[in-house]
């Protein structure tokens, strides 16, 4: 039950795009057509579901104050949390690279679909944002962190696909010239964000 709530919260209430604007750069770049949006969205779900738990383990067994105590008593006092940014981004960059290589080798079809998006993801704020929020929320178990990563990914996916669909349609409307393209995308995201505010405090 707690996990379902966590999932719903991370996907809808704390939606990466509408509540925090994470991953806006790639979001605006790919939300021109639904097809590319689905591709990048799927890649984000995939990468978030892997990187958040990995970073969770890193945080809890290496970086946090006292996290090194499994090595022995004398390490209990070590506090490496100042290194967390650099470790998280390194983990993300290498996992993205790894995933790219594995997918390319074992599933060429999937690689064809996700391939070009994977390199983009290393610098997608949503991924690092996921890791940093995980750190701040201090989840009790690794299962929570997997749920959180997956939920946030799904939320990002929903947002990018919805906006892409609207942007496809809006090409046939008379948008004031200066607002065309990026301007309209901002406005739309703002309105969608307002709609998503309706989920606030939503729990099962």
């Amino acid at each position: 039950m707690e996990l379902i709530n966590l999932f719903i919260r991370s996907a809808f209430v704390d939606n990466m795009i509408f509540a925090f604007f994470f991953g806006m750069c790639s979001y605006l770049a790919v939300s021109k057509t639904v097809k590319t949006a689905v591709g990048l969205g799927a890649a984000v779900i995939f990468v978030l579901t892997i990187t958040v738990p990995v970073n969770y383990l890193l945080e809890n067994y290496v970086l946090k104050q006292g996290a090194l105590s499994w090595l022995g008593e004398e390490y209990a006092e070590f506090d490496l949390s100042f290194l967390s940014f650099i470790m998280f981004i390194a983990v993300i960059a290498s996992i993205v690279q790894l995933v790219e290589m594995i997918v390319e080798k074992y599933s060429p079809a999937l690689y064809g679909a996700l391939g070009i998006f994977l390199p983009l993801i290393a610098v997608n704020c949503a991924i690092l944002g996921g890791a940093l929020f995980m750190q701040e929320k201090q989840f009790p178990t690794v299962v929570h962190s997997i749920t959180y990563g997956f939920g946030s990914g799904v939320g990002w996916f929903i947002a990018v696909v919805l906006i892409a669909a609207i942007r496809e349609k809006i090409r046939y409307s008379h948008v004031p010239a200066p607002l065309r393209g990026v301007g309209m995308a901002f406005l739309l995201t703002g309105l969608m964000g307002l709609a998503f505010l309706g989920f606030m405090g939503f729990e099962i």
Partner: protein
């Protein structure tokens, strides 16, 4: 903006353009659409927006200079990771300094300081400019883009704070008598979506005044 150029007439015309272009024609936020994530989330108060802009500017200039100095040494294969490490290290320094000397602000910015790492402006400028240019030009490019980013941030924060809580920099601005006439602060302005709308309006105004930027 033009002030910077005037004060230092030694700058060549090309160098001046490095600073002035990002303010309008190639503004990183509104035209290149980079670095939105952190830009919009910290704009509820002017003071936060200013600290965030300064932090980004510092990281951007230093990152640009360092990458530019190392541009003939960095191995092509691990280029991206090297850039990420440099940026991440700079961001950690900023974060630690904020925590030690401006504690209140660091509390409010929380995770957003860390997100400077993935701020696309920084990676974008490192990759597109610093890797191929001399340190001095890279520093100016960093300064220009940093200011371009900061200007948008501060403008958004100005409207959000004024309309949302009737304050600027934490001081009450709207006189008490307005409230007595039934004026109300617009709580909606404090919520995330309103920043997007303000940026959209900003883009609208900017592009109407400068029609060559209009997309087809």
């Amino acid at each position: 903006m033009s002030e910077v150029a005037k004060r230092e007439p030694l700058f060549s015309k090309k160098n001046k353009k490095l600073i002035t272009d990002p303010l309008n024609d190639t503004n990183p936020v509104t035209i290149q659409v980079l670095g939105i994530c952190s830009a919009l989330a910290v704009t509820v108060q002017m003071s936060n927006a200013i600290v965030m802009s300064i932090s980004v500017m510092a990281v951007l200039i230093l990152g640009n200079v360092i990458v530019s100095l190392l541009r003939n040494l960095i191995p092509g294969k691990i280029r991206i990771i090297v850039q990420l490490v440099i940026v991440a290290a700079l961001v950690i320094i900023v974060d630690q300094v904020l925590k030690a000397y401006v504690y209140d602000v660091s509390k409010q910015l929380s995770v957003f300081v860390g997100l400077i790492i993935t701020n696309c402006i920084i990676m974008g400028r490192l990759e597109a400019f610093a890797l191929g240019n001399k340190p001095w030009a890279s520093a100016l490019d960093g300064l220009g883009n940093g200011i371009g980013y900061g200007v948008v941030l501060v403008i958004v924060a100005f409207f959000k704070e004024l309309l949302g809580s009737g304050k600027l920099m934490g001081f009450d601005i709207i006189p008490e008598s307005f409230y007595e006439f039934g004026y109300m602060n617009n709580g909606l302005m404090l919520l995330p979506p309103s920043s997007l709308v303000i940026v959209a309006i900003y883009i609208w105004i900017q592009k109407s005044r400068n029609p060559k930027l209009i997309e087809n």
